[in-house]
Symmetry: C2
Subunit: 337 residues, 2 copies
């Protein structure tokens, strides 16, 4: 199987959409059950990181279906990764599914709807098919085939509901002239809560404050973004930028399964994703490389159109990336590669 033809990718896409809906139905059933009994959870790293039986059940449902349909494909899932010994980045160039059965487990625990199932499919380490399904947000299903003949879509209210092409405003407007001023910024507080000068909590909170502060404030680092959103789900943060419902997603500490599905959608709608830490020695004119999908640090900028000064989308996006880098500290998230 070559994955070069759009019809092959369309098949994979449709399979993943159906599978995400099935998984969502399972989750809604679990939710109803949970409303009748106190949740039994066990703690992972600390009280912030919960795993529920639902989490493992959904991953099994998705993995079993994929392996039955595509036994020759590789599979990376959050729960099996967490349970396994091998902590290196497992993505190879072959066809690989990268799945998060539920992002935002805390949200699920509290039955807050900002929870999503993410199914991504990579070829040559590039997210090529992506499906993000939010069963408690009107059954919103975001999906894309990243291909010259592909597309990106938002389907609402179930399989027979209305479907909208993405980006949600098309063609997407240019980025704001003085970006990050005027941008909608998404980021999460994360699980590292240490009170020490170099902790990720201290740096992340400083980054948020810089982005929020008036222009000129914070020693010139004030970014005066429109708003800062922490939805509790990096999958939803990424998909809102991918669909043009936000401008900037800045998140470190999450994993490839949180963002792989969203990145396929982002790439198809003309967005970019780079490392949230600037690469060493990058100059102001060097082209900015794409983020490593397993790098745990993501800075995504939405797709846009050429602006009235004739700046291309890529020029605007790279300029905004550099403005964000100026206002944010390097975060300490690494992984064995």
């Amino acid at each position: 199987m070559s994955f070069s033809s759009i019809s092959e990718l369309q098949q994979l896409h449709d399979f993943a959409c159906k599978l995400a809906r099935r998984a969502g139905q399972y989750l809604r059933g679990e939710q109803v059950r949970r409303q009748k009994q106190t949740l039994v959870t066990r703690e992972k790293l600390n009280s912030v990181d919960l795993v529920t039986a639902a989490d493992e059940g959904v991953e099994k449902l998705i993995r079993d279906a994929i392996l039955a349909e595509y036994p020759e494909h590789a599979f990376i899932g959050e729960e099996s990764y967490s349970a396994g010994e091998e902590k290196r980045f497992l993505l190879k160039d072959g066809p690989t599914w990268i799945v998060d059965p539920i992002d935002g487990t805390v949200s699920l625990e509290f039955i807050v709807p900002m929870t999503a199932i993410s199914i991504g499919f990579c070829v040559n380490s590039i997210p090529t098919v992506g499906v993000v399904f939010a069963p408690f947000i009107g059954g919103s299903l975001y999906s894309a085939i990243h291909h010259s003949e592909g597309g990106a879509w938002l389907s609402e209210f179930g399989p027979t509901g209305p479907s909208t092409n993405l980006p949600i405003v098309s063609p997407p407007p240019p980025l704001p002239k003085d970006a990050p001023k005027g941008c909608l910024f998404f980021g999460e507080w994360g699980k590292d809560r240490r009170d020490s000068p170099q902790s990720n909590l201290v740096k992340k909170s400083s980054n948020f404050i810089n982005m929020a502060t008036e222009i000129g404030g914070r020693d010139g680092k004030g970014g005066m973004v429109h708003g800062i959103r922490s939805l509790g789900s990096s999958t939803m943060d990424m998909v809102y930028v991918a669909s043009g419902q936000g401008d900037i997603m800045f998140e470190a500490g999450c994993w490839e399964w949180d963002v792989c599905g969203g990145i396929a959608i982002l790439l198809q709608t003309g967005g970019i994703v780079v490392d949230s830490n600037p690469p060493a020695n990058i100059s102001d004119t060097d082209p900015i490389p794409m983020a490593n999908i397993g790098g745990r640090r993501y800075l995504a900028i939405r797709g846009c159109s050429t602006d009235s000064d004739g700046r291309s989308p890529r020029e605007q996006q790279e300029a905004l990336v550099r403005e964000v880098w100026k206002r944010t500290e390097r975060l300490n998230y690494e992984r064995p590669m």
Copy 2:
């Protein structure tokens, strides 16, 4: 009309639910239109505070319907308040509707779904009927009649969809023993973005960091909450705590129309709402008064059950309020009363 009978309140409730759905339909129509053209907006205070034609259109739709049905009732709405000269708090003891046509206008602008219509109805300045409708979150409709024979409900996927009694887990679990540790905390960054030591931005961000930091950190102020959420809508923040989908809502700078509908639901599900600034000279044993509905400072705690130590819901809630007060600075939001 006395508003003492449940059947009178039921009528008002059903009327408000229908009206909220109509307003939601209008908003979805506006959204589709906006996807085809760049939004025309005009700036209010600064670039963060946008008002759109949709905002004014929805308020007119709701106000006209209420005045036609209940000409003797008073009406307070965000848009008419903003446009008027009178900036004092207008709520009197008579029957009064308090309406936010769209909370989270920035979210609406960006077509992010975390946007809600809030319709509240007060008698003797107490929120008595509340409806919060999120047309882009699966058409989730939260509502309540705050009365001994009343109730609170979440209805999803339209008027014929499933309806759940609130709180969403019933009876609601006790608050966590070491609360705020383990709590889900909702709050917003707001519009005051000044970089000065006493600005609300500086204090709010310090409050967020205190709540997030590990126990023992930040000179003992670390609260180690489960998570911090900024959804961009204080209406949704309040309603999630009201429904038991979150534990703490801490927000200052918003207005009565943002929270009135949610507070009716909160009161009916056993939650409490107090001033987010501790009243002057309150002792550790003084009972904590309810928030002034027009006071612009709200600290809400969800309903809960008696815990295994025999502490009543009110005792747990007041203890948690004092723990939050210890970890947060007084915010500078006032209004002419």
